[in-house]
Symmetry: C2
Subunit: 323 residues, 2 copies
């Protein structure tokens, strides 16, 4: 009978104000897998623990006080996977050089480096994400773009693997990513058993864009006033001709400038605004889809359906029943 010939150390980093579900989600997923693997007398096992600067209890996001298993000094040196959680105050966390140094030192030794939510900011600051396609919490993508303009950020993915670096979207996405890591290590069967045990969707439909808020209007940024006007007039003709005219620019120049400062074409931007508006209407009213489409400036219900599929990977109907 085989008994674990290889035990993989899964270290979950923890610091004050870390998002509690970024920490407990992955920790529980790996712990559940550990139990299942022990029962199955599998050849691979897991050892899962929390590492922090000191072993003193610390308060995480929700105010829950947690006791770390190891400090940086006593932490086992042979980490297989290091999981770095996020926090709402991530820019403050970036100032903790002792924390960053430790992550940096580990990064060269671990087999897998994983960030949950805004944990990606810590890896980015260390240059560990350079040249890689990555993701983070949808609400922080803009912030990330400003701080680390060299990164390729996919604001819709639930998680992304690039080499031995894994980044994931906000909070509960850490559970999804951890399930994928377990599938990678020991197969789909164990991973699905964990998912069923925790009553988690094994693979969620759609991306995290479904969760992003109505696009903020930013009157003080370039084209901000135009965007504000667009939001108020979504049912109007917002073709590139009309928009360029409104800001007294040539179509060609307008299209180029807009793309430059907003990162996407005016057409795509308008489509996303319309989808956001449609979602708001559907979430907060029982208006029929045909009316939703008209109010948001889609020519037909079918056009709206195609835009939803493209942008959110769900139909308006599915969206309505889901939210």
């Amino acid at each position: 009978m085989d008994i674990a010939t290889e035990t993989r150390s899964i270290g979950v980093l923890i610091f004050p104000e870390a998002q509690v579900l970024d920490v407990t989600g992955p920790h529980e997923v790996f712990s559940s897998a550990r139990h299942l693997l022990e029962k199955a007398r599998a050849s691979i096992g897991y050892d899962v623990f929390l590492v922090s600067k000191t072993r003193k209890p610390l308060k995480v996001s929700s105010g829950i006080e947690i006791v770390p298993d190891y400090d940086f000094q006593s932490c086992p040196s042979s980490l297989d996977t290091l999981i770095v959680p996020g926090a709402e105050n991530i820019r403050q966390v970036l100032e903790d050089s002792e924390l960053l140094n430790w992550i940096g030192a580990q990064s060269g030794n671990v087999r897998r480096l994983v960030s949950i939510c805004t944990g990606a900011f810590l890896l980015a600051d260390l240059g560990l994400l350079d040249g890689k396609r990555i993701t983070t919490h949808w609400a922080y993508c803009e912030d990330m773009r400003r701080l680390f303009p060299q990164l390729k950020i996919d604001s819709d993915a639930i998680f992304i693997q690039e080499g031995n670096v894994y980044t994931s979207a906000g909070v509960t996405a850490g559970i999804d990513l951890s399930l994928a890591l377990i599938e990678e290590d020991v197969g789909k069967k164990i991973a699905m058993s964990v998912a069923r045990k925790l009553v988690v969707f094994y693979r969620r439909p759609g991306g995290q864009k479904q969760f992003s808020d109505f696009l903020m209007s930013q009157s003080d940024s370039p084209f901000g006033a135009l965007v504000d006007w667009m939001i108020e007039n979504l049912s109007e003709d917002l073709s590139i001709e009309m928009l360029a005219q409104r800001v007294n620019m040539s179509q060609r120049n307008f299209a180029r400038k807009f793309k430059e400062v907003r990162g996407e074409t005016p057409g795509k931007f308008v489509e996303r605004l319309r989808i956001c508006q449609a979602r708001m209407l559907m979430e907060n009213s029982d208006v029929v889809l045909k009316t939703v489409a008209r109010k948001c400036g889609f020519n037909t219900e079918e056009q709206m359906r195609r835009a939803f599929q493209r942008e959110l990977s769900v139909t308006p109907n599915e969206y309505r029943t889901r939210f």
Copy 2:
């Protein structure tokens, strides 16, 4: 400007081996709502804390060590909502009379009594669920039926409200239920903001049956051998005539007896077995749906589709893309 004129105390019970996500999920949902309500200077606020027998750090399911905020003596007496988590070893927890007595004493005073996952066992033991429709983790429904035969258990719900008592399905369902409680208190807008922040589906499609495992065969229980044979021969004719013949009983007597010991008609039972098998095939292979239907004994793909809709509230196609 309104500042919280009413602060509601949300107490989350905690004990050794409690499922960590049953505890941290609801705790984080209410804590997030608290922050949003403070920012909005709303008239209702939340105070969220962990209560345990003593204030000593204790290890929860995954091995994480957590420090409770209050013990039973120091816990604020005016709890608005008491949240009772589950545990894998819930039958052991049932032997803790001090814990049960405390829940019992609170139950008469709180505005809302909430169980997550197998936490329902603790409320059931105190008689607090008698006469109510309730739910718990899908894997424990049978156990619950045996221990508390007087209860009306809905093994598919994500959560159920009956009067001021709320029960929910396994683990992550505690997040779903907590979002519903916040919607009840302060409206959909705040609840949806929390869901978006935590990147949680606001309302999940389908019920928890999607997560239940292949039905266990139980050779030593009545009809156990017959069920084992059925599992091996799902593509055969499993009509009531054939099954009755196999066990040398009249159709009428067989149908009556089967319903009595298995809790459902032979027809329904066979349908569920076929769905379980179809799910296994879809999860572990790329077999086309038509073949899946045939292998599992559905006459047509359409018949399988209707069975899936009825039983799991999703189509086979949706099921496949989701898991």
